[in-house]
Amino acid sequence: MKAYGRTLTLTIVLMAVFWGFSTATYAQRMVTIPEDAYKAILERLDTLQKRVDKLERERTDTSSLKKDIDDIYDTLDKVETKTIKDKLNIGAEVRTRVDNFYYRGTYFNPFTGRYDKYIKDHKDNHWTSRFRLNLDAKITRELMFHGRLSVTKNWADNDPENFYTDFNRGHAAGGNTNVQFERAYIDWIVPNSPVPLAITFGRHPSTEGPPVEFKENRQRQSTYPALLFDGEADGIVATIGLERYTGLKNSGLRFAYGKGFQDDDDYENYLDTRSGLDDTNFMALFFESEIPTLPRSLMVLSYIRAFDMVDNPLGPNKNVGDMDLYGIHLQAKDIEGTGLDAFLSWGLNYSHPGGTTMFNTPMGPAPVGLLTNDGKDNKTGWAIYAGLRYTMPLQMLNNPKIGFEYNHGSQYWFTFTQSSIEFYNKLATRGDVYDIYYIQPFNRYLFARIGYTYIDYDYSNSGMHLGKPMDQDDILTDFYILLDCRF
């Protein structure tokens, strides 16, 4: 019994000691803080936990990134839709030039009824403005549009009469401020064609062709070399790409069709007049390529035939025959990295006269034919056009350029260059032309050009296809300055 009692006592003591220790340990861990602080800590803990959860979610889940990409796509969709709706890229050109002309030549004296020699005529301080609106669009990968609306006018010219033909509406300066339809055409690369084929239709890039871009301080502007064809013209061209067959870079063969005159009735202008006039049709063949081993170069071989030319495009009465034109054009830019550009162009024309028409001369009406007076003989003319341009390595002056051009046309030379950038159809000259210019760029959009042109006419009626060109010794000079802004 005693033993039982000792055991119980010991158990009680041990339990008391164990409880005492436990109570003491609990009492050491207890912290007493105000209730508000306790709540604040709990809230802070909750916030931190939420942030940790969010970060963990963002790290493992790409939905947030996806949302950002979707936002960017949405923005791009809007931009792309806007761009597609815009359809057209628009650019503009503004040019102002002042010319100082001097002419020394023959002049018909109505009092004596004869041509008097060496009448001198000055036309100084002649100002003109030119505005162009350039348009383009890449409709699809195979379909491209280019257009240009333009006005060229004399300053303060109130005379409504202008010598506009369909060839030079946008280029001839007059008193008219009407905007002219200079070019608008579509390039269509025909898909799934057995050979690389493009069709170009509309009012063509047929003015200011190679090498006029050198003098104009710009890129190539026309399909055709300027010496043979520089006129605003509607037409259709089929171009076969030959690069994959010949290995010649940018090589192609072109077949072109256009009209130089289309007869129409003034009242029902979808019908012919009953005058019996045939339309003037153009057929042409061109081969072009980069010159082998000469980068940035161009070679064009040309053949053009004008069928049934009319006597006077402004008031045609008769067809006077056909004309063949042949040409070789070579040019190279920045030859061997020297900054030197050069070109050489040769042309030949051969007439097929078809009778005579009456032409008003100061002496009265006289019969004339194609490059002859009797309209019977075939005539051959030729011309050469060569030049150099040098880009100076003067960066502080924005790399100015200096150029020299020379062209010579024989007695029977005739070419379709009525849209010449000069007012005097330089490339049709039957004689010699010396042309020097200096181009001063101010920035990538604005430049000035100062130039002097000297023309020595050896034969009469340069640029005209009627009548026999007669001996002449006329001189025309032009000193000009122009400012051109293109953007």
Partner: protein, 102 residues
Amino acid sequence: MKRSFKRILLALAMVLWANQVMAGGADLFLEKCMGCHSRKGEAAPISPADKSSSVWEKYFKRHRHPVDLSGMISENEMKLILQTLKDHAADSDQPTAAIIPK
């Protein structure tokens, strides 16, 4: 007279040499870029007219070219190439003629 002629020739030669140094951007573009960016190259074909002048400038400033070019093209060469890209960029004067399909 003979001396003047020699001087003129020397001056001309120096100017042409200077120009050759200046005007290598187009050749560099063909040599350094078109090797990869051609029809049968490792990268997609490109044209300077793919971007506007200011976009080309930003493109290289932001190092957006996917391949590091520093080992292939020197800083000076890059400047000339960039100038060529800007000279022929989408907002520069573009050649116009009836298109020749390839």
